[in-house]
């Protein structure tokens, strides 16, 4: 594994020379910190309503980001909302990878009927646009936050099968794999210690970009009323609630929208920078 070690460390050094990537990484660190401790930072409860103080604008004393239609503090809802809204992207990517990567590696490595079966199944899933597939899964499971997370993850699985399969196909006839095979290593061992580490670069790039994509998709499902449900403090729900007051209180729409946007922007900047240093050939996926 010495070879692989160098392959990851050097690009990281290059990455840290890119000021945009460093800024994006720093910002994401902050967001994750807020997602972890947001509930303790929030000045007020995210769900207790206070009708006397409803629809206050941004900058109201005591309510930095104003209040919503039920008088709830928008800043508090934003801070509470960071965990489900951002966490959903990481969790969904983890689930999609956990299922898709082993299947894809196996398809590429074993070839023959395993590959045919998995590839044809993947083709069927890819006959649906990503968002449509997620919506179809929701149609079966019923609306809800965890169902939306699962739907977004399931819709992402075929893409990871594709990427991992491609890597495994390129690797399976390489000398170190053949050598390991003739030395009597089991399939599982070859997949785990040769295929997986060498397939990591494109997967890492895709995963970074997909966290942002899946955050957007999950928020979109909430916006449609198919994901997280009111009164939950989740950014997509906040957008969808705020929409009804968009004329009188546009901040209810703008605050959660900008929050999603900047998190996704940071993830895209980081993903692009990672791609440039790890795998320049991947440009323009999705």
């Amino acid at each position: 594994m010495e070879r692989n070690d160098g392959e990851v460390r050097k690009p990281l050094k290059i990455l840290f020379r890119d000021p945009w990537a460093v800024a994006a990484l720093g910002f994401l660190g902050l967001v994750l910190f807020i997602a972890a401790v947001g509930p303790w930072l929030a000045p007020e409860s995210p769900i207790d309503s206070n009708l006397a103080d409803r629809l206050q604008p941004v900058g109201t004393p005591g309510h930095l980001l104003g209040t919503d239609e039920l008088g709830r503090d928008v800043l508090s809802r934003l801070l509470y909302g960071a965990r489900p809204s951002v966490g959903v992207g990481f969790a969904a990517v983890a689930v999609a990878m956990a299922v898709g990567v082993p299947l894809g590696l196996a398809a590429g490595y074993f070839g023959s009927w395993v590959d045919s079966l998995l590839s044809r199944t993947t083709d069927v899933f890819l006959a649906f646009p990503y968002v449509l597939l997620a919506i179809a899964v929701i149609a079966a499971l019923g609306p809800g936050f965890y169902h939306a997370m699962l739907a977004v993850a399931i819709a992402g699985i075929p893409y990871y099968i594709r990427i991992a399969r491609g890597s495994a196909l390129a690797l399976r006839h390489r000398d170190f794999v053949e050598a390991s095979k003739s030395a009597g290593a089991s399939h599982l061992r070859i997949l785990w210690s040769h295929m997986l580490p060498n397939a990591l670069s494109p997967l890492l790039v895709a995963a970074t970009l997909d966290v942002g994509w899946m955050i957007t998709a999950a928020a979109g499902l909430s916006f449609l009323g198919l994901g997280a449900q009111p009164p939950m403090a989740e950014w997509g729900v906040m957008l969808s609630d705020g929409r009804q007051f968009v004329r009188v209180a546009p901040h209810l729409t703008l605050v959660p929208g900008i929050a999603i946007f900047v998190v996704v922007l940071a993830l895209n900047i980081l993903g692009d920078a990672l791609r440039d240093v790890l795998d320049p050939r991947l440009a323009g996926r999705r």
Binding site: R120, T121, D123, V124, F125, A127, F128, P129, Y130, V131, L132, I135, A136, V137, I138, A139, A140, L141, G142, P143, G212, T216, A219, G220, F223, L224, G225, L226, L239, R243, V246, R247, P250, T253, L254, G257, I260, F261, V264, L265, N268, I269, A283, G284, R286
Partner: protein
């Protein structure tokens, strides 16, 4: 060429059948008894059993699937539980609305994306180039439903110059009014695709401009315009077609969200309302129609690709 198209069409059949199985299974795994939804909670056990029998719900799943598929192939997508109307008929007008929206957004994205990418590449490192790249980064990261709401706040309420909801003003019909209503939804849907296409066009142009034959064209004294638009662009556009093709799925999926924001009466809006009402025949029909459109458009893109690049022979 004709044989290539035919072979690709035939290869689509198993994928499409797979898609029908998936759609069928998803709806049948869904909790909730369609007969119970139709008759309501006060239904008696006998009437439920009779309706289940009439709907074929007491048959084994494979039998139900074959029956359903046979109907689908005859254009019969069942009846809406909630709206008490024929699903195929419900979808017919909706398809036009969604098709119009995605087509307009696709054309806008391709036109604007390619144009922005060319200018950025020709004037690399200029203010325009940097501006385009920043816009591309923003355009790709902004959630489509949020962008729609921002445009609504801006051009609908703050400076009310454009319509923000529906396809026509009350009491009005005709193309002028329709196109007027189309501007904001199409722009919203197109923005993410514009961003990607502009980036791809720029990097592809930059790569082509460095080639020897471009230097030759310049050396023999051709005008810069001729070099850029006749020699460079045609080759640079080949990889762009792939990216444009990849946007089809993004546009069809994004259309659901854009229709919600702008109350655009398309398939997406119908589908979301049907899911919330647990009106499964409508959901099933809508998902199947969009997937079919998606698969066929992908085929069209592949054919265009092979036409654009004479190096590809099948």
């Amino acid at each position: 060429m004709a044989s290539y198209i035919l072979r690709r069409l035939l290869a689509l059949i198993p994928v499409w059948l797979g898609a029908t199985i998936l759609v069928f299974l998803i709806m049948h795994l869904a909790p909730g008894d369609p007969a119970l939804i139709m008759l309501g909670p006060k239904a008696t056990a006998e009437s439920l059993a009779r309706l289940r029998h009439e709907m074929g719900l007491d048959q084994p799943l494979p039998v139900q699937y074959i029956r359903w598929l046979g109907k689908v192939l005859h254009g019969d997508l069942g009846r809406s539980i909630q709206l008490k109307r024929d699903v195929a008929e419900l979808l017919r007008t909706r398809i036009v609305a969604t098709g119009l929206l995605t087509l307009a957004a696709g054309l806008l994205a391709t036109g604007a994306g390619v144009a922005m990418g060319i200018v950025a590449a020709v004037r690399q490192y200029s203010l325009w180039d940097r501006g385009t790249m920043v816009l591309a980064l923003v355009g790709y990261a902004i959630p489509v439903f949020f962008l729609g709401l921002v445009l609504q706040i801006g051009f609908g309420y703050r400076w009310p110059i454009l319509p923000v909801s529906g396809m026509n003003s009350p009491g009005q019909s005709g193309w002028g009014d329709l196109l007027w209503h189309l501007i904001l939804p199409a722009l919203t849907l197109a923005t993410g695709a514009i961003a990607l296409i502009a980036r791809m066009t720029r990097s592809s142009m930059l790569e082509v401009i460095r080639q020897d034959y471009i230097r030759t064209a310049r050396a023999k004294g051709l005008k810069e315009r001729t070099v850029v638009y006749k020699h460079a662009l045609r080759n640079a556009l080949i990889p762009v077609i792939t990216v444009v093709g990849l946007q089809v799925g993004y546009l069809l999926g994004g259309a659901v969200l854009v229709e919600m924001v702008f109350s655009w009466p398309g398939i997406g809006l119908l589908m979301v309302n049907a899911i919330l009402a647990r009106d499964f025949p409508v959901v099933q029909g809508a998902v199947l129609v969009v997937a079919t459109a998606y698969v066929l458009t992908n085929l069209l893109v592949d054919v265009l690709y092979s036409l654009a690049d004479p190096r590809i022979r099948y």
